[in-house]
């Protein structure tokens, strides 16, 4: 079988696996639902997720160990992931093929020529990784302050290595090197002194913005599958909504359509994962190259080159995605996948100068610190940012979340949504609860999101921990926020209308919403003058009532200016009379000419902040459907001590 066919089968296989995992990320017990499918496998294989979280959290969480396997294979084989596995790459390659299908060979040469802009992806990679590494870097910068001896040891070791290297060259270079070295140590010390402020920079994981795997997950989960849900092929009983997905959709469509202009545009210019592979593949044992220098220079090898890595001349190993098209296109059998470097030479390193590297790194380091000036994680936190149960405190959350949207996809009630700017720019597309949308609030007995989260930005909690049972009984249930009643919008509070839907739906036991009963005079009281009355009935002097209007069970009557102050429930009324419940008959019926007043019995809801867990079922159910009369905000959420509301 042709190697190209093999590659295509492999690509289609992984694309199908990917889509299959997206489909089965549906809560349920059917064979095509979640059950035990390893739906995070492709995310875990993505070493940028592993490396990013390693730099920002200093640990490699569980399944992310798969990334090491990918890296090891890349070190040995080159960028096989891009050409053979990556589902996004497969989509690009296919659309790129559609785009250049009818083009002339010379045009194909044109679009597949190496472009200096391909180094942009390395800038992006460095930018994103510095944002993640900044906290570790600060700790290193603070070494002279905190661990002087370790610093001296490192400094001396560096001095020895550099001195040996310098002396091996010339004395002149030794002078220069030692000067550079001293400057470096001086800057280190200076940094250490300056960095001892109250606020140290903290890491932020932003790789998810452009990492192709989370990007594709987002696009499929929030756009493609919900579109399917609106057809007969639906995966969910109720069609899904995701708020603010226009941007995700626009990025996805642009990334796909750009292939029509330049094949694999995203892979060549943007993809930080590809950039990482480009760096890692530098020592690959096997690589593409020419077996002989002499060839007729037909350049056909460049015709379908997916990585635009110029195999014709000096091949750029960091750009080669191992599509192997050149092997197929060379009619002279000169292109091979071999251990020796290409006969026409090769370029190992990415096209990136030291200066460009530094600029990228400095911007990456400055970007997060600049964003944090907004105080979103400190005093200026947004109470509307309600995170799923088990979410880490915001600063740690932002070191782990890769914005893949798995939590939003698995959430059985569709209450988790990609945030717009509620969590600041850093929190773009991270999970936020939107209680207006979905089939109910955050379900009391559900822990799906945390157990699916590939990076533990949402911890895999147990049901016991969520509900505060058994060994967790001392710390109580996990709270994600607190419900607040808007008395100006609440029907019983503001509009004399019985309701308490929020109280009925509160899933906490005992309920976190309590009610207090009160009676109000109805809003437009009719003039009710007694003609005659019995133990249970009153007849009025004129026809002033709408029949049965006050027979709902919520209305009571009371005789004015009487010694009998008892409120009696009205069970029936005609135009000129009413009947009260026999629970409390009139001992002495109201006299003729006395006045009767009608009251409405109301129950006003109150939230008990000690019990409320912020699940938002009340907000979801509140019949005031526009701006709800009871709304959950992040006050009192368990994940942040500083947000505690009550003792």
């Amino acid at each position: 079988m042709n190697i190209i066919t093999t590659r295509r089968i492999c690509q289609v296989f992984f694309l199908i696996i990917f889509l299959w995992f997206c489909v089965v990320t549906t809560l349920g017990k059917a064979w095509w639902q979640l059950r035990g499918w390893p739906v995070n496998w492709i995310i875990q294989m993505d070493p940028l997720v592993g490396l990013g979280t390693l730099l920002s959290t200093r640990v490699l969480y569980a399944g992310l160990l798969w990334g090491v396997a990918t890296v090891v294979l890349t070190i040995v084989l080159g960028r096989f992931f891009c050409g053979w596995v990556c589902p996004f790459g497969t989509i690009h390659q296919f659309v790129g093929y559609l785009g250049k299908r009818n083009k002339r060979v010379s045009e194909k040469f044109g679009v597949n020529r190496y472009h200096s802009g391909q180094s942009i992806k390395y800038w992006i990679l460095i930018f994103l990784l510095t944002a993640a590494i900044i906290e570790i870097a600060t700790d290193v910068a603070l070494l002279p302050r905190n661990r002087l001896w370790l610093f001296i040891t490192i400094a001396l070791a560096l001095l020895v290595v550099i001195a040996i290297r310098a002396v091996r060259r010339t004395l002149n270079s030794a002078k220069r090197t030692i000067f550079l070295y001293s400057t470096f140590i001086f800057i280190w010390l200076l940094l250490s002194i300056m960095l001892n402020g109250d606020q140290r920079p903290s890491a932020s994981l932003q790789i998810g913005l452009l990492d192709p795997i989370p990007l594709l997950y987002r696009s499929i989960n929030f756009i493609l599958l919900p579109l399917f849900d609106r057809t007969v092929l639906k995966l969910q009983t109720v069609p899904r909504f995701y708020d603010g997905t226009w941007l995700i959709g626009a990025i996805f469509i642009s990334a796909v359509l750009l292939n029509l202009i330049i094949p694999r545009f995203y892979c060549r210019f943007i993809c930080p994962l590809g950039a990482l592979f480009g760096v890692v593949s530098r020592f690959a044992l096997w690589r593409i190259g020419k077996s002989k220098e002499e060839c007729i220079d037909c350049q056909l090898c460049q015709k379908n080159c997916e990585g635009a890595c110029q195999p014709t001349s000096q091949i750029r190993i960091s750009e080669c995605v191992l599509c192997l098209n050149c092997l197929d296109d060379c009619h002279h059998g000169l292109m091979t996948y071999q251990t020796a470097p290409s006969a026409t030479g090769e370029i190992l390193s990415p096209d990136l100068t030291r200066r460009e590297f530094m600029v990228s790194a400095i911007f990456g380091a400055a970007a997060i610190s600049t964003l944090r000036i907004g105080g979103r994680i400190g005093p200026n936190w947004n109470p509307r940012l309600v995170r799923p149960p088990g979410s880490l405190a915001e600063n740690e959350f932002l070191t782990r979340c890769i914005k893949c949207g798995q939590c939003m996809r698995i959430c059985p009630t569709n209450v988790i949504h990609p945030a717009a700017l509620e969590g600041g720019l850093e929190g773009l597309w991270t999970p936020i609860l939107n209680f207006r949308i979905g089939t109910s609030g955050c379900q009391h007995n559900c822990i799906a999101c945390g157990n699916l989260c590939p990076t533990a930005a949402i911890r895999p909690i147990s049901l016991d921990e969520r509900l505060g049972r058994n060994q967790y009984s001392s710390q109580g249930p996990i709270k994600i926020g607190t419900a607040f009643i808007d008395r100006g919008r609440c029907l019983p509070w503001a509009m004399d209308t019985p309701c308490i839907v929020c109280q009925e739906n509160c899933p906490v036991s005992p309920k976190a919403i309590i009610t207090r009963e009160f009676f109000n005079t109805i809003k437009t009281p009719p003039r009710l003058v007694v003609k005659k009355a019995g133990e249970l009935t009153i007849e009025f002097q004129s026809d002033v009532l709408v029949p049965d209007r006050f027979a709902t069970g919520d209305y009571y009557c009371v005789v004015q200016e009487s010694s009998d102050i008892g409120r009696r429930r009205i069970i029936a009324n005609t135009a000129n009379g009413l009947r009260v419940s026999d629970v409390l008959p009139f001992e002495s019926p109201p006299l003729a000419d006395s006045r009767v007043e009608i009251l409405i019995r109301l129950q006003s809801p109150y939230v008990d902040p000690k019990r409320c867990i912020g699940c938002g079922v009340c907000e979801h159910e509140c019949p005031v459907k526009g701006q709800r009369a009871i709304r959950v905000t992040a006050e009192n959420e368990s994940r942040t001590r500083e947000h505690r509301l009550i003792l």
């Binding site: 569980a62 020592f283 044992l285 001590r641």
Partner: protein
């Protein structure tokens, strides 16, 4: 020639293989080393907790003097002399911390904060008996720089040679008080206490709408950091816990001008009353119990006094200390 090239290539390949091998080992080692099969716990690891030392002098327990007069400098010095003079409390080489009440950015004439004159007198007296250093601190409610500036405390401290320590975030350390319900892993302004061995609390006598009165014990509230106002939900117990947390060398309760209404901010001279009394002592509960009288309150209106007494902080029956009462 061809052979040479082959040899070169082979050598190149071996070097590259070695580098690739090293990279594989490095990747594997990093994976192995940093692998974490378990997710992070419910809350970040608790940092080690600190506790304030005991700054009281055992042989000087239960001392109290009450001096009536209009001039703060005079009454304070007289009251100290009655207790054996400052040299009884501060020894040569002592490092002293003055915990003032600088809660609000308001001028001294409004009596919402510790009067700067007290800072001047105490600092000078400390240095006179040989103190090595005197620091002044508080974690005010309003902006700290404005508070220390407008209350005149910063200027008084500067001219007398005391150092003002502003409550920067890194000066707070989490504290867990033994058998406390409220001060658990809570940030306390700890760093200023680290290198000192004597503490003097200096508080004005003020009305306080939530707790009834703000005097010596309530003044320790200014050592709490974080979202401390959450403790207003249980004000008497937090004051009790604060009183057990801080064991001062000496306390000064300034009842020269008492804030009778609209506390604890006051804001108008009509909120104030000349009560012309200076209380100095080593028993915080007794001082506050006496101060209640200046505010025309009964100690039963200030439940934290009984609570602190029950905890063994001091005695509410200040008469039992046989306070030395003088008038100028």
């Amino acid at each position: 020639m061809q052979k040479m090239k082959d040899v070169f290539t082979r050598r190149q390949f071996l070097i590259r293989s070695a580098k690739a091998g090293a990279s594989v080992v490095a990747a594997g080692a990093i994976g192995y080393w940093f692998y974490d099969s378990r997710a992070p716990g419910p809350s970040p690891d608790q940092k080690s907790s600190v506790l304030l030392s005991d700054f009281s002098i055992p042989e000087l327990e239960k001392k109290m003097s009450i001096v009536r007069g209009q001039n703060r400098a005079d009454t304070l010095e007289t009251a100290l002399k009655a207790l054996g003079g400052m040299e009884n409390f501060i020894k040569k080489g002592d490092r002293v911390l003055l915990k003032v009440n600088a809660a609000f950015a308001s001028p001294p004439m409004l009596s919402a904060t510790t009067h700067p004159q007290l800072v001047t007198v105490l600092t000078k007296l400390c240095y006179k008996v040989g103190a090595a250093s005197v620091c002044v601190t508080d974690n005010p409610i309003n902006d700290p720089v404005s508070c220390f500036g407008l209350t005149g405390i910063a200027e008084a401290a500067d001219s007398a040679g005391a150092r003002v320590i502003l409550p920067k975030e890194n000066l707070f350390k989490p504290t867990t008080l033994p058998d406390a319900n409220l001060i658990k892993n809570w940030p306390v302004l700890y760093e200023p206490f680290k290198d000192i061995n004597k503490v003097i609390g200096i508080a004005p006598v003020k009305d306080h709408h939530r707790s009834g009165a703000s005097m010596v014990m309530k003044n320790w509230y200014g050592l709490l950091g974080g979202r401390r106002n959450i403790f207003h939900q249980d004000i008497h117990n937090i004051i009790k816990e604060l009183a057990t947390m801080v064991k001062p060398t000496l306390v000064v309760l300034d009842g020269t001008t008492s804030m009778m209404t609209n506390g604890p901010t006051g804001g108008s001279l009509s909120d104030l009353k000349q009560t012309n009394t200076m209380i100095v002592g080593t028993d915080q509960v007794a001082a506050d119990a006496f101060g209640a009288g200046l505010l025309d309150k009964d100690i039963s209106e200030l439940p934290y006094i009984a609570k602190a007494e029950a905890k063994g902080v001091g005695t509410a029956d200040y008469q039992s200390l046989n306070p030395i009462e003088l008038s100028i």
